[in-house]
Structures are given as C-alpha cells and as structure tokens.
C-alpha cells in the first residue's frame, strides 16, 4: 500500500511547480499587448474614467504588489471579474459553470479511448506480427496523425449532414431548459437524476460525435502503449513459469500480464487526460460547445485577461492534479516505486 509520506512528499513538490505556473501566467499577461483599462472603458472614454479603472484594477501599484496580490487571489481561486465576455461576472463563477461541460466531454472521450484501446493493444501484442497486429498498428498511427479539427468535420459531414443520425453542434436540443435541471452540470447525469429521459437521449446524441473524435485519438495512443508494454511483459520469466505450471495462455495473459502491463499504460492515460483538456479547445471550437476550451479561445481573441488567466491556471492546476493522481496510482500498482 502507499504510505502517507509518499503522498505528502508529492504534494509538497507541487508547491514550487504551481508557484512557477502562476508566475508564468502572470508574466504572460503582463507582456500581452493592450491596455486592460482602455479595453474596459472603451475607446471613446474620457482620460479620467480610464485612470479610475486603472486605479480600481490596481494597475498603478508597483509590479511586485500586483504580483503578490495576484498570487494571494489565485491561491483562493479568485481571478477577478470578466471585463468583456461576461461583463462583471466573477471568473470563478464562470469557470464553475463551464468546467463540467469540458470535463464531461473529456471523460466520455477518454472512456471510449480506454475501452477500445486496451483490448486492441492486448490483441495486437498477443498476435504480434500477424495481419491483425499490422492493421491495428497502422490504424493507431493514422489515429494519432489525424488532427481533431479534421476528423471532427469529417464525422459531422458523414453522420450529421449526410446520414442525419446526430446533430452537428451544441450540447442538447435548444427546446430544453437546461438550467432547470442543473445539479452537477454534467448533462448526462443531471437528466437521469431528474428522470428526464428524452433530454438524456438528446444530450447523449449531442455528445456522441465530439466524444468519438476525442476517443479515436486517445484509443490510438492507448493501444500503442498497451501493445508495447504487453510485448515486454509477455517475455518475462514469470509469464513462462505460469505457462509451465499448466495455466492456460489466456488466463496467464489476463492475470499476470495485464496488471503489470497496465503500469505504463496508466501513465499514458493520465498524461493523455491532461492533453485532452487542452485538446478540448479544438473539439469545442469544431462542435460549437461552450466549455472552457471555447471560452479561452474567445477570451484571448477579445483580450478578456481575467478569464484568460483563470482558465489557463485552472487547466494547469487540473493537469498537475491528474499527474499527481497518476503517480499515486503508479505506486499502488508497482510497490517498488514507493521507496
């Protein structure tokens, strides 16, 4: 089992990284062109009004005071108020609103990837150098070579435009009032909790294409990792021992091979989840889903800096947490690491 000390050490190591992350975001925003006060006030505002806003944003303070304020606020998840996109709404509340949308998309995408990628990888390894193996490998390579912003439009074209099976964009049909059933913000769960069966189906249909796009990519990565990891494990002595004592080959592969081969795969799944959050920027743009990926792109475009810093920090924070989770899972699966 894992020791509390191991987890504590990992948590402490996060502090400098997160401090660095926050400092980097602070510098990026201070280097970005454009005057936030002028952006808020508008081009025709009086000089005096602009000064007032600068004062209220603390832009006249020395840079280190601004930096410390920023760190103190960021540590409490306070990122100020949006100045353009959602005028005067707190960035934290916007993020709470939008984050579940992105997470729902990434989780379903990842589930598709895991449930297809792991069996494909195992089959590919067990049947090494057969036609099945070659097809899977080339398919996986193609999967990571096709950009999401091309596979997405292709799926829309085929399944939404030509066949008409799925909607082209959005999260749920516009006839439903989503706000009325908001609990977790995850539509597929909220609709079920409220017993709104039709809404549930609509949400699933909207989710199908974007989750598949993400799933294809993640399946490709996972099956590659699973294959090479399984190939390594299959050659180990303990596998031969298990076979020698008369155990069937299928049981050996699943019982002894699987658990050991999963260790590196879990790392890939974890890291993959982080980049899925980044990839959400693209998926959400293609499918016109209003999650935090789409929000970030819009905020950068119009120069809504509080939203940019809040979103980027949240993404980095989640990414770091996921990586920590991966490290801990890793040490559970392979006790030798915890030393």
């Amino acid at each position: 089992m894992i020791s509390g000390r191991f987890v504590l050490k990992r948590l402490l190591l996060l502090v400098p990284v997160l401090l660095g992350v926050a400092s980097l975001v602070f510098s990026i925003l201070h280097l970005s062109p454009g005057d936030p006060a002028l952006t808020i006030a508008g081009n025709r505002a009086s000089e005096e009004f602009v000064r007032q806003i600068e004062e209220s944003l603390g832009l006249n303070d020395p840079i280190w005071v601004q930096y410390v304020d920023f760190l103190v606020n960021a540590a409490q998840f306070q990122f100020g108020e949006s100045f353009i996109l959602f005028r005067d709404a707190s960035v934290t509340s916007i993020l709470i609103d939008k984050l579940p949308i992105t997470i729902e998309l990434a989780v379903y995408g990842q589930l598709i990837g895991i449930s297809l990628g792991i069996p494909l990888g195992i089959i590919s390894a067990v049947k090494q150098n057969t036609l099945t193996d070659h097809t899977t490998r080339v398919g996986a390579l193609a999967g990571i070579s096709i950009p999401i912003f091309w596979s997405g439009p292709l799926l829309i074209l085929l399944f939404a435009q030509i066949l008409g099976w799925f909607p082209t964009s959005g999260r749920i049909s516009a006839i439903y009032n989503v706000e009325a059933i908001r609990l977790t913000g995850l539509l597929t769960i909220d609709t079920l909790l409220y017993g709104e069966w039709e809404m549930f189906i609509s949400a699933v249909k909207h989710l199908a294409l974007p989750a598949t796009v993400i799933g294809i990519y993640s399946m490709a990565l996972i099956s590659r990792m699973m294959r090479s990891s399984m190939l390594e494990v299959i050659r180990q002595d303990y596998m031969r021992t298990a076979r020698a004592k008369g155990q069937g080959s299928k049981i050996t592969v699943l019982k002894h091979g699987f658990r050991n081969a999963m260790i590196p795969v879990i790392t890939v799944i974890g890291i993959q989840f982080g980049s899925l959050l980044g990839g959400a920027v693209l998926t959400e743009t293609v499918f016109a889903i209003q999650g935090i990926g789409g929000l970030l792109v819009e905020a950068i475009r119009v120069g809504d800096y509080p939203i940019v810093q809040g979103t980027v920090l949240t993404f980095a924070f989640l990414f770091t947490l996921v990586n920590l989770g991966v490290d801990i899972t890793y040490s559970i699966l392979d006790p030798r690491i915890d030393q």
């Binding site: 390579l141 912003f149 082209t168 920027v281």
Partner: protein, 309 residues
C-alpha cells in the same frame, strides 16, 4: 565508440565510403528493412517535392487574392479545379500545394529551434549538475505543467499579429523545448558515466570540447527520434493555432487556416471539398513523419529489433 578514433582514421573512412558505412550501421539497415518507415520516408519526400514546386512555380499573389469573377465560386471538384474552389473562387489545389511549403518550413523551424534550445539546456543541466541542473529542470517542469496547446495559445497572444505564423513557431518552440531537455539530460547523464569522458577531462580538455565532441555525438540517437516525432506534432499544432485564428494572416494558404474557413463557412452548406483536401494533406504529412519516427524508435531499441526478426 569514441570520436577520437574516428578523426584519426578519417582517411581510411573516406576510402571505405560513407555510404557503405551508413548502410552497415544496424540502425540504418533495420530502418530500411521496415516497410512502414520506408512508406514514411516516401510520403515526406513527396511532400517535399510538392512544397518546393509550389514555392518556386506557383504565384503566391494569384492564390492569395480573391478570384471572384474570374473563377466559378464554391465549385465542386472538377477537371479544371481538381480540389474545387473556395468561397473566394480560389482554386484549392494550388493552395493546398503551397500549404505543404508552409507546413514544412514552419515545422522545420519549430523543431530546429526547440531541438537546439532543448539539447543545449539538457546537456548543461546534466554536465554541471547541482544549481544549474535544478534551475534548468525546475523551469522545464513548470513549462510541462501546462497542456501543450494551451500554453502555446497563451504565449501566442504576447506577440504582435504582424509576425504571422512565426508567432506560432516561437510559442511552440518554448512549449517543445522541455521535452528535448528532459530526453537529452537523461541521455547525457548516461554518457557522462563512461570512462572516456573522465579520461578526456583528466587530459585537460576544456568543458565545451568535452560537451561538443564527446557527450553530444553520443546523445544524437534519442535526439533524432524525438525530433522526428515532434515534427508531426509541430505541423499539427501550427495548423491548430491557425485553425483557432492565431497564426497565419487572412488569405494565407496555410492548411490550418484553409481548414478553419472550410469548416466555418463551407461545412454546413455542404461544400465539403473546401475543408477536406487541406485536412487530408495535413493528416498524410503528419502520418509520414510518425511512420518514420516510429520506425526510428524501433530501430534504436534492440528489443524491438529482436521482435521484428
């Protein structure tokens, strides 16, 4: 293999012929016997030919400016316009061809810059250790704490629009550098344990000589694999930034921008060819680099080589 002997017997080498030596290396022979890797090389060479042809024989003005009135607008693929025409009546085929030039040019720049930076930092961190190691690698950790495309997006916003696709190159260089630094630091630490390094130091060789003549050449293998695999990523990420509107200036025949226009303006009206062809060119090019990179990785890993036999 020490590089000292290589220089001393360089005359002999020239006689034996570089090509023979190249072929005799287990890495190259294993790579050339891998059909998938060969297919990758073929794709890359074909794209290179297209890119060079486009750069020298296609007039950028004509394919950038609107051709409304001259050509039919939003024409499906036909004999006259094999890839069809877009919303400004520009023929899509020469634009896709020119896009190959942009993809390879900016992709190469990104990979080259991040390789040089990452290799430099990685070797310095490994060689000097202690404070240098900590400062360099902790900075890399911070950069690695962001999902890559996100960091690139945030960075791109700093640079003026006028830089066009070079904005994307600079941002992605910073994003990729830590990966190279990590790989190279690891490789360099292993090389530094060898006795010939101690011997060179004991003979009084200055640091730069040790690093450039002895450590660097022995780290080349992992660097090359990482570069090749990153090529595909760089081409996708540059296109992704353009797709999101941060990169190529309006009208530029870059694949990402063409895809974005095709998806936003053409997809819902059924003009599929507008986004299909630039996307296909992008996917095929990236596949080429991934096939080659994969083959190289297998060729470098003796266990994998065994598996192929």
């Amino acid at each position: 293999m020490s590089t000292e002997t290589t220089t001393e017997t360089s005359d002999e080498l020239t006689q034996r012929g570089l090509i023979d030596r190249f072929r005799a290396s287990p890495f190259v022979s294993s790579l050339l016997s891998n059909r998938l890797a060969l297919a990758g090389i073929g794709i890359i060479l074909a794209m290179l030919v297209v890119a060079l042809y486009a750069r020298f024989f296609i007039d950028l003005e004509t394919i950038t400016q609107s051709q409304l009135g001259t050509n039919p607008n939003r024409e499906p693929p036909s004999a006259a316009y094999p890839f069809g025409t877009d919303g400004q009546a520009r023929s899509i085929l020469p634009r896709v061809a020119y896009g190959a030039w942009y993809a390879l040019l900016y992709g190469t720049a990104t990979v080259a810059f991040s390789t040089v930076l990452g290799v430099g930092l990685g070797i310095l961190a490994a060689y000097y250790g202690d404070v240098a190691d900590n400062v360099i690698m902790r900075t890399m950790d911070v950069l690695l704490a962001f999902p890559s495309l996100l960091l690139a997006l945030a960075l791109v916003a700093i640079f003026p629009d006028g830089l066009g696709l070079w904005r994307a190159v600079i941002a992605l260089t910073l994003v990729y550098t830590p990966r190279f630094a990590r790989v190279v630091r690891g490789a360099a630490l292993t090389v530094l344990e060898n006795e010939y390094v101690d011997a060179t130091v004991a003979l009084g060789a200055p640091d730069p000589r040790v690093l450039v003549r002895h450590v660097l050449p022995n780290c080349l293998a992992p660097i090359t694999v990482q570069s090749t695999l990153n090529f595909g990523l760089a081409i996708i990420d540059i296109a992704a930034l353009s797709f999101l509107g941060f990169g190529a200036a309006a009208g530029t025949p870059s694949w990402g921008l063409m895809l974005s226009n095709g998806v936003n303006l053409g997809l819902l009206t059924g003009d599929w060819w507008w986004s299909f062809f630039p996307g296909a060119a992008l996917a095929v090019t990236v596949l080429g680099f991934n096939l080659l990179g994969d083959g190289m990785r297998d060729a470098l890993d003796p266990r994998m080589r065994e598996a192929v036999d």
